[in-house]
Symmetry: C2
Subunit: 623 residues, 2 copies
């Protein structure tokens, strides 16, 4: 096995997966969020999974030769289920090779959306007769008549036409500059802009996942649905505390403290918006819509709502339904009439990110009983069974996001993201550079491997020296030592004075986080009266999700051991996917509202068994 990571780019959409050599294209596609068609079960028998290498196609396999014509092979077509990747590749995935059913997991693929842009914002080309002596109708009336003529679905009675103050101030002169031929931009039948036809740019939207630790944003073309770019950043509110409760406590110091938190997140979002726009040569004032998904506290702080009532029993949020407000009212300078959509929430600690995730997973159509676990600083768990959606949240801590771990880091260049224990520990480092730390997936993989090897016990204790069993390879045994504080640690990498280690404390953090999630899962299963083995689908979501190994996730207890591997899917950052859909589609926003209304909120701490479950779940499942 090599430490080398290869970069696979999928076209169209530009999604990237970082993979170890030998990974099949189907797997790499899944990591990038595509579900490639494999009706024959990946046996190379149906030929439905064809993809095309843009260059340097590997030699055809026998199955390729049997299912594809010689000219197709020459063009670079291969079967995704049979072809293993050995080097960086750019792959074209035709629509016909994408899984088309309703049960697919939608995370990122721009070509396989459940929801398409549906014209809540739309452009209408108008060619009007200028006013003259016999037709001196007011400008807005002229425009309304032209719209009624241009739009087949326009109903003059039902469709109330309005114009925003901003556009009214420039409309008279713009109409005359353009000689009454131009592009009207409508937002739900309200005229929000009028531009000359030849300067009319595409309409853009932004989508954000506002995590407690991490922020992710995307710039989207509202007409085609195309994703132009994504961006990630730390949530600057982390200086006020790692978790939501410390943020709520800080906001409780007074109106200026709340304002400080609000401004801090707004500034970060604005920076991301400006960056996304400027590096794609898009002006911020052609961004007409923005959608936000975050946990309840993050959404409150984003909107400037007082989160105080989320800080004490009975943890009451301000709102349940999604919120629509002007982006300018939030302090975001996009188009003056740009609207912001903030997802509905389910409860004090199950927020809009969970709703967005359910939206992206098409929760209403999953094979049930199904479990969705979204792992972040808070872990949100949803159990779907018998038409009921039960949702709960647990404080998983920031370990899964690489925070509060001695050598933790975000999943960027230098992060160990995968670990394999053979004769020694072997690492996959993002960017194929010298290791700089451990990201969430690396932490899970490492602990899983160390459990398997037997140098971490089921109680989470790290073994050193004589405690270590005789079957453990020497190279691994030598990595285990006592640190300066007298606690055990595992050395991952040493270079000069710098050493990267996994400490006993780090393992305890992971134990706490995984235990909290597992306890929540168990309570929900108990309340619904079903056993883990009955689960038909387990969806593991989170920013790192695509890169975790099922074995190790089960070893550390994140996934019940009884769930077969083929029922578990890592679906990536579904909250972010849901936010992107809501940014583009009115229908998606309606579906989010329905989901928000249909979910039953379970307060885990109300369950008498929770403390016991948590204590039990702290135990690793082990090798």
């Amino acid at each position: 096995m090599s430490n080398h990571t290869i970069c696979v780019t999928f076209i169209p959409g530009g999604r990237i997966a970082l993979e170890r050599p030998g990974t099949t294209i189907v797997e790499a596609g899944a990591h990038a969020g595509f579900v490639i068609n494999t009706p024959c079960g990946g046996g190379g028998k149906c030929g439905k999974c064809r993809v095309r290498f843009e260059q340097d196609a590997p030699p055809p396999t026998p199955a390729d030769g049997a299912r594809l014509a010689p000219e197709e092979l020459a063009q670079g077509w291969r079967l995704a289920c049979q072809t293993r990747l050995t080097q960086d590749a750019a792959l074209y995935v035709p629509q016909s090779s994408l899984f088309g059913g309703r049960h697919q997991i939608q995370t990122m693929g721009s070509s396989q959306r459940l929801y398409a842009p549906d014209g809540a914002i739309r452009k209408v080309m108008l060619d009007m007769t200028p006013p003259h002596m016999e037709d001196d109708a007011p400008d807005l009336l002229r425009l309304e008549h032209a719209l009624a003529k241009a739009l087949p679905d326009w109903d003059g009675i039902a469709d109330v036409f309005e114009a925003s103050p901003h556009v009214m101030r420039v409309l008279g002169s713009r109409l005359r500059e353009t000689r009454f031929k131009g592009t009207a931009i409508l937002q739900d039948n309200c005229l929000v802009d009028y531009l000359a036809a030849d300067v009319s740019p595409p309409l853009y939207a932004l989508a954000f996942d506002i995590g407690t630790t991490t922020l992710v944003g995307a710039l989207l073309n509202m007409e085609t649905g195309e994703e132009l770019d994504t961006i990630a950043a730390m949530n600057p509110q982390t200086i006020y505390g790692d978790d939501v409760l410390s943020r709520i406590a800080y906001a409780g110091r007074g109106a200026s403290a709340l304002e400080e938190l609000h401004i801090s997140i707004i500034n970060a979002v604005q920076d991301m918006a400006v960056n996304l726009c400027s590096r794609n040569a898009v002006k911020t004032d052609v961004v007409y819509h923005v959608a936000f998904a975050g946990n309840t506290t993050m959404q409150h702080l984003l909107c400037g709502f007082d989160p105080a009532s989320l800080g004490s029993v009975p943890f009451v949020p301000l709102h349940k339904h999604g919120i629509v407000m002007k982006a300018s009212d939030m302090g975001l300078p996009l188009h003056p009439e740009a609207k912001a959509y903030i997802f509905p929430v389910i409860g004090g600690f199950v927020g809009g990110d969970t709703v967005a995730g359910l939206l992206a997973c098409d929760a209403a159509h999953l094979d049930t009983p199904a479990l969705m676990v979204d792992i972040g600083t808070n872990g949100e768990i949803v159990l779907i069974h018998n038409g009921t959606l039960r949702a709960a949240s647990t404080a998983a801590g920031p370990a899964f996001e690489g925070s509060r771990i001695s050598c933790g880091m975000r999943a960027t260049n230098g992060a160990i993201e995968r670990v394999k224990a053979n004769a020694d520990l072997e690492f996959n480092v993002i960017g194929d550079v010298e290791p700089a730390g451990l990201c969430g997936s690396g932490l899970i993989d490492l602990c899983g491997e160390l459990l398997k090897t037997g140098v971490i016990g089921c109680d989470g204790r790290m073994l050193v020296g004589e405690e270590i069993g005789g079957t453990v390879p020497g190279a691994i045994r030598r990595r285990m030592r006592l640190g300066e504080n007298g606690e055990p640690e595992c050395v991952l990498h040493e270079s000069g004075d710098i050493s990267i280690t996994l400490t006993q404390r780090d393992v305890r953090e992971l134990q706490l986080g995984a235990g909290a999630i597992r306890a929540g899962v168990n309570i929900l299963l108990k309340q619904a009266g079903i056993s883990p083995a009955e689960l038909r689908q387990v969806l593991i979501a989170g920013g790192f999700g695509s890169f975790i190994r099922r074995d190790n996730a089960q070893r550390i207890g994140l996934i019940p051991a009884e769930v077969p591997h083929d029922r578990t899917r890592f679906v990536g950052n579904v909250a972010f996917s849901g936010a992107r859909w809501a940014a583009l589609s009115r229908q998606a926003r309606c579906a989010a509202e329905e989901l928000g209304n249909s979910v039953l909120h379970v307060e885990l701490s109300h369950d008498p068994d929770f403390a016991m479950e948590f204590a039990l779940a702290m135990q690793f499942q082990g090798g």
Copy 2:
């Protein structure tokens, strides 16, 4: 006859009329905007016009004695048609003495409105159960349920409940501070405020008439409809030109010039709003609604809309329908969610003030054919006949508002407002002080009297010396002289070095203004195919309207000579009255929209006869 002016205050409402001694209460009421019941024709026979002197009732007339009981007489009750006022008086007018039919002229009376406050903004007292373990509903949902319970007409399905960003930011803490007992303030079912029950102030509205020369504003209680106060000011845009065309030309210099005009009027409105509020101990942030009526250009500049297209053929306005926008979007700092309503317009030069006037005159129910003439810097004329409303406008110039007249001034202290030619000219001066100038009504009265006396000819020429006929009293004859520029003038008052004179040029200004209006009236009558004698009602509106004498208005040609006096009514500033109603009542705003839609705009300059009519109308009707 005395120069003394007496002050008559009407209760309830506090309306004031300034009158000469000897005026009947019915007349004074009409001047103040009340139509007092006179079913018997004012003959003292029916007793339906009873009013009560609050103190110092004059001795009863024989008719009083015949119609009223001794104890009523003792309480101060008198018949309004019989009693002549001799000194300042406060009069209570019971609802039963007000003209109750639909044909009354509504200008100001708060006790005889066609439209009452109808709850577009409303306060709802709520008493909610605070959240607890078994009821952790989000705050907004709790509030919505409480509203649904408190409001009998609330329909959970049809009534979409929203909350403004401003209230959402404070709602959580306010609900808890008030222990969930407080006052919700709703604007069309959108929550715009939530206050502790004990600090909840009344809801207020503002109404403005935005004239080319004069601005008038009122502060209104939105719950009772009571008018607390009014205020007047010069339109500061007059420094950019007297008439709308010069303002349009100035705005055409570029975006910054337009912004300058916009800011100038907004600042003036804001000053008036702040003054009205502060002198009535009302905070500006409890003003939830504001209505504006003005001519098309004034409304455009108020909203910051480019008036360029109003400056050239075919004089196209931006909008036809009324406009609703947030007051804050106009730059007015009232309640953050306060809405501004700007009246619909009829055409480039027939604006929202005309629609507001028609609303206040209840145009849809007048005795027709009816003519309404609103005299300001622009004269707007509406002819109502056979279910059709025809509207036109003419440039009357600012003479009627006391501007561009050598000794012109607004109708405030020191202004000569009435003139009577007996052995000499006798003047009524507002405030009973030394005369300082001539206001619009004084100008009309003076020219009318001089025409009657014969020192102004029907061609408008002022006579001096030997030209003056022998029957003219010597005192008047001596007032006529040649001014320094060699042109004739009439000396009204001399005190030391200062002399107040009416110049030949002033007379020409009046001639132009009255001629323009009269020509418009004639064209509309011609187009409708009716003669002046057929008019059933002539309503003369304008800021000065209540104080003009019909004789003199006919002498200068403002009113066709064929119209009997009893068909002419001076209805005051009806545009302002209409604005006040629109500020209070959603129904009034709907009615305004209907009126705006139903009026046919007549462009006078398109009529081939206009030039000839104008030339002919320049001729005074004379003595």
